[in-house]
Amino acid sequence: MQGHIMAVRNARPLSPHLGIYKWGPHMLVSIMNRAMGVGLATVGTLGFVGWLVALASGEAAYADFMSCVTSCYYLGYLIAIGLTFAFFFHMLAGIRHFVMDAGAGFELKANRLWSWLTLGGAVVLTVGTWLIIFGKAV
């Protein structure tokens, strides 16, 4: 029965999917928004909660956590900078969604422009944030 239904379903034509469309910035921003959200919910949550638990566990545990982030120099900073970018990207893409939920910004040129600005804005905000952090550390 189940197999019969699957066979019937498989015999029918499929609606067009990603493969046949010409890629545009709106598609990139859409799939990246989902990927960044998943990254924030998993890696981001783990890092944030780990930091809070270390903080609540006392000075020694907190020092261990912070040295773990900063001592494996590239890896720790890579994850932290990656999460910063993921947050700003998800934030700007979310604001873009608020506008589109209201029914605005669907014109081809506007959609293209705001997609690129989402991507560029996330890079600018990430660089700015880490310039402040590294500026204070020196």
Binding site: V49, A56, A60, H97
Partner: protein
């Protein structure tokens, strides 16, 4: 050769989904304010040393806003990951993943809230 249309015809819509969609937007707006506040607060601290961060977090307003941030973020990613799971997983795997998502959400939320309250209620404890 029929389609599966007959199995759903006459049932109407799923009669749910709008609430999920709306709460996702409401928590998104809350996150916009709360996470930006969190990032700016950390950047404004003189350092991320233990004493500095615990003194900040032990104050009433940061402690309450951090607790609200945790609840709001957990609610938002609970809704968001549910949609991702429902898009890509089917059958038993979907049910297992949704169960794991529940555990992940409440485990992370519980640990975060306990940590915040411990610091807030015991002050910037030593050791």
């Amino acid at each position: 050769m029929g389609t599966q249309l007959g199995t759903v015809r006459g049932l109407g819509s799923a009669k749910e989904g709008a609430h999920h969609w709306w709460i996702q937007r409401v928590t998104a707006f809350g996150n916009l304010l709360l996470v930006l506040w969190f990032i700016i607060s950390l950047l404004r601290l003189s350092s991320l040393d233990y004493g500095v961060v615990t003194a900040w977090l032990a104050a009433p307003i940061p402690a309450v806003l951090m607790a609200l941030l945790v609840i709001n973020v957990c609610w938002h990613f609970r809704l968001g990951l549910q949609v991702v799971i429902e898009d890509y997983l089917h059958g038993g795997n979907r049910i297992l993943a949704l169960g794991a998502l529940h555990v992940w959400t409440f485990l992370m939320g519980g640990l975060a809230l306990y940590s915040i309250f411990k610091i807030a209620f015991t002050g910037a404890a030593h050791g």
